[in-house]
């Protein structure tokens, strides 16, 4: 009843092409931004800020990156973690070797390095499609990790290959508490999400989707295949690279190459499939679902065994978690193959019509 666009007329194309054309949505998003920018850092304790929200945002950014490539441009990739690794290790190197650069420029340059790697490993996409391409991106995944471990320069010759992120100081102001790190992460992620949204509703985004939906037709209307695919790889890897840099600097503080294994690539892929391919919102929902679900299950089982007063062997709990996690993925794929973002959309459409059935 309260959620509808009746009475809101668009008098220009610009108004029609806003990100949130419906007023209630605009109010909602403003409220949400207020909450996450003001209320959360004020009220959230360390646990929520540094162990839940910060990683969630970082994973959402990585998922967003992968979504640009896989969801929008239709190129299946299993190399996400490798691009994140490039971002993390290059950010470390820029901060180490060019300390006058500053944090944000280092992140951007690290992202650009990831983009360059992305373009190189995106080249096969010009010939290879589908699962063949997916498996081919594994070459990137394994090669990049190998190279990071092998070339001492990248880890500044640390014996174990582990790097420790430098302190983050922006314009003389240190970002060292969980709340500040969270705010920094949130700002970067919000900004990049907005840019991605803009890009996806512009010509570039349409070209990506055209290539995804029917590459022959896209070429026929003049979309350059090579340029578009490589641009998708570059932008996607840039996002993943920045996410990787933040994973090292805003979240863990130290990283080893093994933090970026194939497992992580799969995890990010889950996020976009569960959240919704080809949807910015889906990247966030998916990231939330995949990062929070195991924790929720872990806490829940802890609570259950506490409640019942019987001690369930932890191996049983851990394995049950695994089973439920897998089963839920299958369940959601069956219920809504287009992801949770689509469910949200459907709910909104229903709400628009409510209380009338049609």
């Amino acid at each position: 009843m309260f959620y509808r666009e009746a009475g809101q007329f668009k008098s220009s194309y610009a108004e029609d092409q806003q990100i949130f054309p419906i007023r209630q949505d605009r109010i909602g998003i403003t409220a949400l931004l207020l909450v996450v920018f003001v209320a959360v850092p004020l009220l959230g304790d360390q646990y929520w800020l540094s162990a839940i929200f910060t990683p969630l945002l970082i994973f959402a950014l990585a998922a967003l990156g992968l979504n640009i490539l896989t969801g929008y441009a239709g190129q299946l990739s299993l190399g996400t973690a490798a691009f994140m690794a490039v971002g993390a290790f290059m950010a470390y190197n820029f901060m180490l070797r060019l300390p006058w650069l500053g944090v944000i420029p280092s992140f951007i340059l690290a992202g650009l390095c990831a983009a360059a790697v992305g373009v190189v490993f995106g080249l096969p996409s010009l010939r290879i499609k589908g699962f063949y391409l997916a498996v081919a991106t594994l070459a990137c995944q394994f090669f990049v990790l190998w190279a990071i471990q092998r070339w001492g320069w990248i880890t500044n010759y640390s014996a174990s290959g582990v790097i420790t992120a430098q302190k983050m100081v922006i314009l003389g102001f240190p970002f060292d508490t969980p709340a500040l790190k969270y705010l920094l992460t949130l700002s970067i992620v919000t900004l990049l999400a907005l840019l991605a949204k803009n890009l996806m509703r512009s010509e570039t985004g349409r070209a990506f989707m055209a290539v995804r939906d029917m590459d022959v037709a896209a070429e026929v209307i003049g979309i350059r295949m090579m340029h578009t695919k490589l641009l998708a790889f570059a932008i996607s890897s840039f996002y993943c690279g920045v996410a990787g840099a933040m994973y090292a600097f805003c979240y863990l503080g130290t990283v080893e190459p093994e933090a970026f294994t194939l497992d992580l690539s799969f995890r990010v892929l889950f996020m976009i499939i569960i959240g919704g391919t080809g949807s910015i919102l889906g990247s966030f929902i998916g990231a939330a679902f995949i990062t929070l679900l195991p924790i929720f299950l872990n806490v829940m089982f802890g609570g259950i065994s506490h409640l019942l007063g019987v001690e369930i062997p932890h191996a049983v709990i851990s394995n049950l978690e695994l089973i439920i996690f897998g089963a839920l993925i299958i369940f959601f794929l069956i219920v809504e193959p287009h992801g949770l973002a689509r469910l949200w959309q459907i709910a909104k459409e229903k709400l628009r019509l409510w209380p009338f059935p049609h």
Partner: protein, 442 residues
Amino acid sequence: MKRTTLMLAVGTLAAAGFTGQAWAQVKEQFVPASFYWVGPYAPGGSGIAGGMLDYFKMLNTRDGGINGVKLTWEKCETEYNNARGVECYERLKKKGPTGATLIHPLSTGITYSLIEKGTTDKIPIVSVGYGRTDAADGRVFPYIFPIITTYWSQNTAKIKFMGQKMGGMDKLKGAKIVNLYHGSAYGKETIPVLDAQAKQYGFQVTHIEVSHPGNEQQAQWLQIRQIKPDWVILRGWGVMNPTALKAAQRAGYPREKIIGVWWSGAEEDVIPAGDAAKGYIAAGFNVSGSNYPVVQDIQKHVYAKGQGEMEDKSRVGSIYYNRGVVFGMITTEAVRKAQERYGKGQPMTGEQVRWGLENLNMDEAYLKNLGATGFMQPLKMSCADHEGGGQVKFQQWDGKQWKVISDWISSDQKLVRPMIEASAAQYAKEKGITPRDCSKEK
């Protein structure tokens, strides 16, 4: 129907709130139990978790805790994954009346991720037999405790053992040693020490990497067969270990010449290799066996009452299980030591436990008291030295069980300590840390 559910829920919430309240008054010492019970390394995670928690249970029943302070814990699954490990740490660090006593991350990666967090939160990060080697320099890393023996120390002890077997350290001259390592941070860590020792003793070392997970090693062992080394150091983890032993058998390399690190030396590492494992030697900072008084007390006070952690009771007394008992003893004794200074019978904070750890001195008499003579090595910690032991025993697999074949062999601290200090100093410089002056610590 609905109403009852609701009331139940309210009741539960109230109960939860009550227990939260109650914490403040009870004498409990909370220890996070963030381990892993699934995945490729589950045998290690579940065994160590079982040993540590069973020891706590035993102490709670037998002695009523530490001077009347009962040990409590909460389990958290890390899946050997950094992000999950950090989440567990953050979730559990404030539990209990005094917060987390200390934490065993049980993963080198998680340990690294917790170095700064632990230091800020004043919670000791205890990595027994893994983790960041140069953190043994307590002046730079006040809250990080790579207790007992670091990888570097262990490695020098191994070379010493080889020398003994060959009939003197001078016999190492011209010998060939292959370092077969897991392609990871953990695997690579001993390369510099080996290179330094190769120079010192004049042996020739070849580093050969096995890429993760290590379930294919044919190429590596063909190379080893070409080199015909006197010894092979196996620096494996998980499936890499049995695969290496099998591949050695296929290449016709004698297993008696393969010496593993302690993460390559549990029953779980050799049983899958079957007969191929017979004769293989591994280093250890703890031994296997259940005829030590401490393990028997666990049997008596915990398992006899059906309260043990291990579903498979035959694992009690295994290498991993006993390692968990060592984890447990270090934890409780640090708390006991802290209580001596900060108040007997009181729960200790992380900061107080840190003092306890730094002043821990478990000599032979102390160990005998714990029922752990020969079970683990004597430990003497200090403000500067967060390692404390540095000794290793060697054990050989006879096809059925691990047989101890050496006494505690000490490491070459003359070589290792300067390397640790140099590496720690570099870290301090990078991070802008001023090392503590240990002469001023009490």
